[in-house]
Amino acid sequence: MTGVEIGLLAVVLMLAAIYFGMHIGIALMLTSFLSVWLLKSPALAARMVAAAANDSLRDYLFGVIPLFVLMGLLVSVSGVGRDTFDVFEWLLRKVKGGLGVATVAANAVFAAITGISIASASVFTKVAVPEMIRHGYTPKFAVGVVAGSSVLGMLIPPSLLMIIYGVLAEESVGRMFLAGIIPGIVLALAFCLMIVAMAMFWPSFIGGARGADDLGSHETWGSAAVKLVPIAALILLVLGGLYSGLFTPTEAGAVGAAGALVIALVRRRLDWPKLWRVLVETGHVSVSVLFLVLAASLYSRMLALTGLPASITEAVTGLGLGPYGFLFVYILIVLALGCIIDSVSIMLIMLPIVLPIARAFGMDIIWFGVITVVAVEIGLLTPPFGISVYTVKSALNDKAITIKEIFKGAFPFVLCMLGVLLLLVMFPSWSTWLARM
């Protein structure tokens, strides 16, 4: 067998093993180990495994992953999510569908201090869903808004997916963060417009489309400002410090986590057992991501040995598809994978193969990254493996609202994301403008 044939066989077997339920990291390592064995020698295969395990993660940059996860989880327990929602609820009390818009807006602001969508989904399920249902919104819409707008968490910096992309594409993480800002804001605005439009033209979907000015809150401009101080300070600390050059992305993660810890302590939201649970949870989330990264480093070295990426690049550029044809096929594959596996795995599996193609077409790699992240995030909301939807479901703890209802409620948001994705593909310049400044 030639190298390319072995590589192709490895990818097919790996995808099959993953589909049937083998742990994704194990599937990546096993097929890579066996292919290198076949292609070269068992001794080299073992050496490459040892290098992946002992060297691939030995990079200061990977510190960002546990640190931003820790920050996201600390922020979730600190209660600043509720405060942000309270303020937007009060600001938008006269607007039709205002509570839905408030959820999106609060999510967008919250996204600027968290890099994982579960943090947003679980916080706002508890804060926003009961409030919306109390005001007569349909449960379907209430959960759909929360699931839909939780994707903003991984688009607006800091973002776990942007970090992973930056590592794989060898782009600066700081730049990838910048590239997510404008698309994130545009997506949030698109969500808001859609909610207001639905409130006007399709009230049966939303339910309580009347304003929420009867909420009887005693919010004033002063109290609202006070409530926004901690989150604004944290955003300023992390993003300000990062872009003023005071610290590196990894340090921004550490400083942000420490800041979130201080906020949670000052607000008395943290005791020892809770802090311990946050730390253990941080470990589990980051270790499963880092183990995937480790396994994927072996996989991409195996692919490079087989020469598969080069021959696929040749085949695709020779097909006469053109860059847009390639992008179309790529996005379809990512959306299909999004129905089966999680977002980090999709990027780790696809990018070693498609990045050389994108480079061969002379595409802007930062722009390609934004497109990848948005396409991958659609998978967070589509059945049957929409992680955000399942997070909302488990945080909700209400048997009356089924998984199916949440998927239905989130569907308009999927359409909205597809629209923004189309805009990104057609007009590349606006997404990378900040990153290229």
Binding site: Y19, F20, G21, M22, H23, I24, I26, M29, L30, A46, R47, V49, A50, A53, N54, L57, R58, D59, Y60, F62, G63, P66, L67, S76, V77, I116, I118, A119, S122, K126, L246, F247, T250, E251, A254, P273, W276, R277, L279, V280, E281, T282, G283, H284, V285, S286, V287, S288, V289, L290, F291, L292, D342, V344, S345, F385, I387, T391, S394, A395
Partner: protein
């Protein structure tokens, strides 16, 4: 099951349930060390930023220490991540299939667990000579004269992490094998 299936951090703490075996204590103990290490990395970096920006006196070797800690964290917590069902996988096919056909479903689980144990074994086998070499040759990370630290402790952690994770995979395999032996090939009660 995936890295994102969050546990509920908001609700009040449940009464602590300890691990149910000596091996469970080993897994949870290593996991605890990893959690402490994450916190230590955060504290170390914040100190470094403060020292550097306010006192113009950065701490030597922070970048190396953080880089090494990442490997240590992964292998300290890998066993626990597996034990608590948090390794990433696609449960689209396997969960429903195991429910409908318990025996073949559990046998697939056995096969996949053995694959996991095998991969951990390969990592262990491949890391062993590195550990010996690091031990005998006094290998170190960092730049001599500025900051150095021996490499063998990290490789020992990698070895220990692999051993514990392989053991956990074998326990999974045994558990599913028992389930397979105890169940009929089709579940008569479950109709989909």
């Amino acid at each position: 099951m995936s890295y994102e299936s969050s546990t509920d951090l908001e609700s009040p703490t449940e009464p602590r349930r300890g691990p149910d075996s000596a091996f469970g204590y080993v897994v949870d103990g290593m996991n605890g060390l990893g959690s402490v290490l994450i916190f230590a990395v955060m504290a170390l970096m914040v100190c470094d930023v403060l020292m550097r920006d306010f006192f113009n006196a950065p701490i030597d070797g922070v970048a190396e220490m953080v880089a090494i800690s990442i490997i240590a964290i992964v292998f300290l917590q890998l066993g626990s991540t597996l034990r608590h069902g948090r390794m990433s996988r696609a449960d689209l096919f396997i969960d429903g299939f195991t429910l409908r056909h318990p025996r073949p479903g559990n046998l697939i689980h056995v096969l996949f667990s053995l694959a996991g144990a095998f991969v951990c074994g390969v990592v262990f086998y491949a890391t062993w000579p590195r550990f010996l070499k690091a031990w005998t040759d006094n290998e170190f990370y960092g730049v001599q004269g500025v900051f150095t630290m021996p490499t063998w402790p990290v490789q020992l952690i990698v070895l220990a992490g692999c051993a514990v994770t392989a053991m956990q995979y074998l326990l999974h395999a045994v558990w599913h094998l028992r389930k397979a032996a105890a169940s009929p090939s089709n579940a008569p009660g479950v109709v989909r």
